[in-house]
Symmetry: C2
């Protein structure tokens, strides 16, 4: 870390003293640090649960498989909006689907997803 003036630029970190005491712990942890790629996937995962409509869809599906029209009715937005959001949830691996004739049934992808949802609900209820 080099000497500097009071600037906020990125290349010239503007702390000298505080870095001294913690820098060892920092360096130590830098190896175990989550990778950029992992962090990205984690953020994408939670991004899929960060929208009101998608959350309502997911909690609806906790009751069991459900077709798009039922979800639409439960959530109370347009069928188109539900379809768009189901695609996001599908791409995030949070839901899966099966076709039965004209109807397509969506469901929670696995128990892991249920757990995450449960933790979220639990967390806000404190």
């Amino acid at each position: 870390m080099h000497k500097h003036e009071n600037c906020n630029c990125n290349e010239c970190p503007h702390h000298v003293e505080c870095g001294g005491e913690n820098i060892d712990k920092v360096k130590l942890f830098e190896n175990k640090m989550i990778t950029e790629e992992e962090a990205y996937y984690v953020s994408e995962l939670f991004k899929a649960i960060s929208d009101l409509t998608r959350v309502r869809i997911l909690f609806s599906l906790l009751a069991g498989d459900m077709c798009v029209c039922d979800i639409t009715e439960l959530v109370g937005v347009s069928q188109s909006a539900v379809s768009h959001q189901l695609r996001v949830l599908k791409q995030a691996g949070l839901v899966k689907y099966r076709r039965e004739g004209k109807t397509i049934y969506y469901s929670i992808a696995d128990d892991h997803v249920s757990s995450i949802l449960a933790m979220g609900l639990e967390h806000i209820s404190e």
Copy 2:
């Protein structure tokens, strides 16, 4: 549910047949359904973990308390950006902080947050 033509409007749900078989389960579940308010808080919670920078900040803090300048160095974005995102995390109740002289130390708010982060990381590692 009333008779309808082939329209996509919200007031005129366009399914007749598929509603028949599932509508009981739907009605049954409508009572236990997550409230709009709960869903909103859940979505806000996960929204706070839905950004790459914030995820990297949170996983950094899993190593222990850390001052803003160390976080800035670890995450590799500007100090201003880190401060802005720390505010989001603080408002979401995911981190807390304490002041020691000029330095402000941030830390994970509680074990619940750690659990949610761990589940996220675990989920993407499959």
